[in-house]
Structure formats: structure tokens, C-alpha cells
């Protein structure tokens, strides 16, 4: 009897009863957080894009519908080039790794690299230097990453050429 009720319930709802309890408790808690912040703080009617609610949703949209499609597409184009290549050492990861290093460091440090912050930055740090060094440092870091990757690629290619073909790591081998 109990199991029939349970089955009927889970068919209607799609999961167990405690799943619903957990979901409702989560929603209630977030409702409490929203009530504590206050709707006034969440929404700025004067400058809509400087609202917390917009930034919250915007962060998800930016990651899921901009960042992900962009990097997936870029990687797709890169991987497609590889398909026609007969090189013994695939180039693809030697491009991926330094590109990702550049992207990660840019994501983390773009305010300095792009000299954002202005007066707030000067007031907080009081440093004689402004944000000038960051762009050059970042470019050097990116350059170093690509150079290192290219060097490793060259070394691997030379070593692969010295080995008999059968021993190399061919794509598609079992």
C-alpha cells in the first residue's frame, strides 16, 4: 500500500518526497535571503545594469551563453585543423594550453591589465606607479607560455621523428 502511494507520488512529482522537502526548504531559505537584502538593494531603477539581480543572472548568462559557446567554438575550429594533419605529434594541446593560460590570467586580472579602477585604485594603494606595468607583464607572461609550448612541441617532434613510426602515439590506435 505504502509503496503504491510512493510510486504514484514519484510518478506525479518526478522524485521522492524528501526531494520535494529539500527543494522547498532551499527555496524558502533563498526567499529569506532575498527578503533580508530587500528588493530595493537588488534592483536599481536609475541604472538598471548596476543592479545586483542583473549581475547575478548576468554572470550565469555570460558564462553559459557567451563564454562557453565562444571557447567551445574556438576549440572546435582548432580541433578540426588537426583532423587533416599527418604530424606525428598533435599540435592541438600545444595551442590549447598557452591559450587557456592567457585566458585564465586575463579573466582573473583584467581590471589591472585594462587599467580599470582609476581613482579608487589610486586612493587605495597610493603607489607611485599606476597600473601601467600590468599590461606589459601579462603580455610577457602570455608570450612566455606560447614560447615554452612551442619549444616543447619542437622537442617532441624531433624525438618522434627519430623513433620508428610504429612506436608513436597515433590517434585512433586502440
Amino acid at each position: 500500500m505504502a509503496s503504491t502511494t510512493g510510486t504514484r507520488w514519484s510518478r506525479a512529482y518526478g522524485a521522492s518526497g524528501w526531494h520535494l522537502v529539500l527543494m522547498l526548504a532551499s527555496l524558502a531559505l533563498v526567499g529569506y535571503v532575498v527578503a533580508t537584502v530587500g528588493l530595493d538593494a537588488l534592483w536599481d531603477p536609475d541604472v538598471w545594469w548596476q543592479s545586483m539581480a542583473v549581475w547575478f543572472v548576468g554572470a550565469v548568462v555570460l558564462h553559459d551563453l557567451v563564454l562557453f559557446p565562444v571557447y567551445a567554438l574556438a576549440d572546435r575550429l582548432l580541433a578540426r585543423r588537426r583532423a587533416g594533419s599527418t604530424a606525428r605529434v598533435p599540435l592541438v594541446n600545444h595551442v590549447r594550453v598557452p591559450t587557456l593560460a592567457a585566458a585564465l590570467t586575463f579573466l582573473l586580472f583584467f581590471p589591472g591589465i585594462l587599467r580599470r579602477g582609476g581613482d579608487t585604485y589610486a586612493n587605495a594603494t597610493g603607489l607611485d606607479q599606476d597600473q601601467d606595468p600590468f599590461l606589459v607583464r601579462w603580455l610577457l607572461l602570455v608570450l612566455a607560455a606560447y614560447l615554452l609550448s612551442a619549444t616543447l612541441y619542437a622537442v617532441r617532434s624531433v624525438r618522434a621523428r627519430r623513433r620508428p613510426r610504429a612506436a608513436t602515439d597515433l590517434p585512433g590506435s586502440p
Binding site: G14, R82, R96, V97, L107, A124, G126
Partner: protein
């Protein structure tokens, strides 16, 4: 999986997601708890001020060990940044789920999507506001403290409910593969995870491409990203020669070699404190009950001087350790007849700003190394470091160590 997109990576699957998830399961609570501890450490000055039930049990922030806040806040900011590659990889591993069609086949799935919005939205919101804040880019316009604090609670709710729902799946998936085995598997031998016929939403692609990278390669990539982030950020907390490794952060810049050449979080200029108000006319007002004693800087220098090596650690994650010399706060309390002060209210010459005054708890007033510092590294404080006198108390959040002190009101019987 019912999806309009063909997912190509042969690496995606519940085992991979569970490995990444388990890293976050262990590390995220550290970021969460250290963040909430920071709110406790701010005591009366915590912002946002009224948060209802949304805080840890409050307690008087301790003064021992002196590096406590340096550790908790360094971990909060540092680990938060270091985990970014793991977070991005975890999101990559599960992103096919986002594009499943129809988006929900039941009420349960629809509700779960809402909690995932809390989880992912909260996490990304915390990363974005945190990253901007430590680099002084306030393009978002709203209060960082309010946003980062409440955003954290939304994330915590999403995180806890996600863990409660997925923990059994994570454990089961981890058992379906062997990390040791996978770490020995080269790219050419890398195969997709087995498809579970029971799971219509499996992350395993039905028609994958040949691998361009092994799973160990992916782990090395993510771990390498975290290691690179660590190398580029840890120096601002650890200090010493490692500071210059924080190449791209404001607190990695060279401040110079002089005794006063270490970072500040607010210049005298920004606080509108000038040479006139801090010159020979400056007086320190000490108060307790109806008693008021006024001292000039010479009189302060005539009192017993004490030297302590103490870190000053900012909520932004950076810290710096210096040698401070000045008068013990409890000696100043004795000047107004209080042998056992239970607290103090310190006011700055600074007239505007959230941190122009600070409440100190009993431990922060009576600790042996709790000072009204007049000198640092053997010379007078510079104006930017709080001349003529500043507070320095072990383990207290940096910004509460009030600079350009005008008055101290002691509490106690």
C-alpha cells in the same frame, strides 16, 4: 540524451564530473567558512550591519595567534582564486545538462533547475564581485559588502542542496572508475565512460569524437591552472621575496625599500587627512566615563614604549608584517583610570567613510601587543600609514586598525 547539440568530448561523464565535484566538495566549505568568519572578525563594524539569522554564531574575535585573520582571509581570497579553473572545468563537464530538451520533464527537475541557478549563479556572482573588489574595479555600482555577503548565502543554499541531492551519485560514480588507473592511461588509450542505460540524462556522449587529450591530461591542465593562479597570487599574502611573484596584482607591486614602504589600503589624501591636522596641534583625546585626558605626541613618546612584530591583513587577501612601536592600549586606559578596560571606541581624524571609527573588544584592548603605534620599523609612521598615531592589534582585520587616531573612549568599570 535528448539534446539538439552533438556533444563531442569523449572525456565527459559522471566519473569525471564526480572527481572535479569531490575537489570542490572538500575545498568550497573552506572558502565559505573563512568568508563567514571574516564577517565575525569585523565585529561591530561588520557590513551589511543587519543580516537577520544569516551569520555564524558571533563571538569576540581572538587576538591569538596574531596571524589568524591573515590566515583565514588569505585562504578565503587565495583559495577562491585558485579554485577558479576547477569551477570552470566542473561547469564544462556538466554543461550538456543545460541544453537538454525539454528543460524539465517533471516538477522535480524544474525545481532542481532553480536550485542549480542558485548554485551556479551564486558561485559566479561571488567570483565576479570578489575578483573586481580585490582590484578596485567597482564597475558594478552596488555595495560590495552587501552583494558578496548575500550572494554567498544564495550560493551556500544552492551548494548544500546540490550536495544533498548528488552525494550518492558522486560516490557511486567515483566507484565506477579508478583514479589510479586513469592517471596511467595515455590519450590513445582513453575511452568514453560506460553509458548507464538507466540514466536518460547521462553525461556520456552517444557519438563522441576521438580523444585529443587524456583524462590525466585534463587533470594536469586544471591543476596546472590552479598552480599558476597560486603562483601569481600567494605572494600578496605570504609576503617577503614571494610578493613580487604576484605580478598582476596591485599588492605585488614594489613599494620601495624604506621603513614606511609597505602597502596601505587608504591614502591620507583619500581620507582627506592633511599635514595641518596631524602637525604640532594634534592631540589625542582619551576618555573613560567622565574623565578625559589629552596628550600630545611628545607626551605619548614619554610613556612606556613597546615593540611588536605584527601582520596587518586586509580583507582583500593581502598582508604585510612589520615591526611596530608605540604605547600599549591598556597603558592608555590606565591614564584615564581604567585598570581593566572591557572595550574601546577609536575615532579617526578622517571625517567620512565606513571605517573612520572602530569598536575594539576586551581582548583587543588588553593584549600585550595591542598598541597605539607611533613608529614603524624604527622611524615615525608616514602620513599614509597613520601619522601621528595608529592602532595595531594582533589578528584584527586590517581596516579596523584605525589610522590618524583622534580619540579613544575606553569602556569598563
Amino acid at each position: 540524451m535528448a539534446s539538439p547539440i552533438r556533444w563531442r568530448s569523449p572525456l565527459r561523464g559522471p566519473w569525471l564530473t564526480s572527481v572535479l565535484g569531490s575537489v570542490l566538495l572538500v575545498s568550497m566549505p573552506i572558502v565559505i567558512v573563512t568568508g563567514l568568519l571574516s564577517y565575525v572578525a569585523y565585529g561591530e563594524q561588520a557590513r551589511p550591519a543587519d543580516v537577520g539569522w544569516l551569520h555564524l554564531p558571533t563571538f569576540d574575535w581572538p587576538t591569538d595567534p596574531s596571524w589568524l585573520f591573515r590566515l583565514t582571509q588569505g585562504l578565503h581570497v587565495g583559495l577562491g582564486l585558485v579554485l577558479m579553473p576547477v569551477v570552470l572545468a566542473k561547469l564544462w563537464s556538466v554543461i550538456p545538462r543545460l541544453f537538454v530538451f525539454p528543460p524539465a520533464r517533471s516538477v522535480a527537475q524544474a525545481l532542481e533547475r532553480l536550485t542549480l541557478l542558485m548554485l551556479v549563479g551564486g558561485l559566479l556572482f561571488e567570483i565576479v564581485t570578489g575578483v573586481l573588489n580585490i582590484q578596485y574595479d567597482y564597475v558594478f555600482g552596488f555595495s560590495f559588502y552587501t552583494a558578496h555577503y548575500y550572494g554567498a548565502w544564495v550560493f551556500v543554499v544552492g551548494f548544500v542542496s546540490h550536495v544533498a541531492l548528488k552525494l550518492p551519485t558522486m560516490v557511486r560514480s567515483l566507484r565506477s572508475g579508478s583514479l589510479r588507473e586513469e592517471l596511467r592511461t595515455r590519450r590513445a588509450d582513453t575511452t568514453p565512460e560506460p553509458i548507464d542505460p538507466e540514466d536518460p540524462d547521462s553525461l556520456v556522449p552517444t557519438d563522441p569524437d576521438a580523444p585529443t587529450m587524456s583524462r590525466r591530461g585534463l587533470f594536469a591542465l586544471v591543476g596546472g591552472g590552479s598552480l599558476l593562479t597560486f603562483a601569481l597570487t600567494a605572494g600578496q599574502t605570504i609576503g617577503g621575496p614571494t610578493r613580487q611573484l604576484a605580478l598582476l596584482l596591485p599588492r605585488g607591486l614594489d613599494s620601495g625599500d624604506g621603513p614606511n614602504d609597505f602597502p596601505v589600503n587608504k591614502t591620507a589624501d583619500a581620507a582627506a587627512v592633511d599635514a595641518a591636522s596631524t602637525g604640532s596641534s594634534w592631540r589625542l583625546s582619551l576618555e573613560a566615563g567622565d574623565t578625559t585626558v589629552t596628550l600630545d605626541r611628545e607626551q605619548l613618546l614619554d610613556l612606556a614604549q613597546h615593540t611588536a612584530v605584527l601582520p596587518i591583513a586586509c580583507v582583500e587577501g593581502w598582508s604585510t608584517t612589520q615591526t611596530w612601536t608605540g604605547v600599549r592600549l591598556r597603558d592608555l586606559a590606565a591614564q584615564v583610570g581604567l585598570a581593566e578596560p572591557t572595550g574601546a571606541y577609536v575615532e579617526s581624524l578622517q571625517e567620512k567613510g565606513a571605517f573612520k571609527a572602530a569598536d575594539l573588544n576586551a581582548g583587543q584592548v588588553t593584549h600585550d601587543d595591542a598598541l597605539l603605534a607611533l613608529q614603524v620599523n624604527g622611524v615615525d609612521l608616514s602620513l599614509d600609514h597613520g601619522f601621528p598615531a595608529r592602532i595595531i592589534v594582533p589578528a584584527m582585520p586590517g581596516v579596523l586598525n584605525t589610522k590618524w587616531v583622534a580619540s579613544i573612549r575606553f569602556e569598563g568599570a
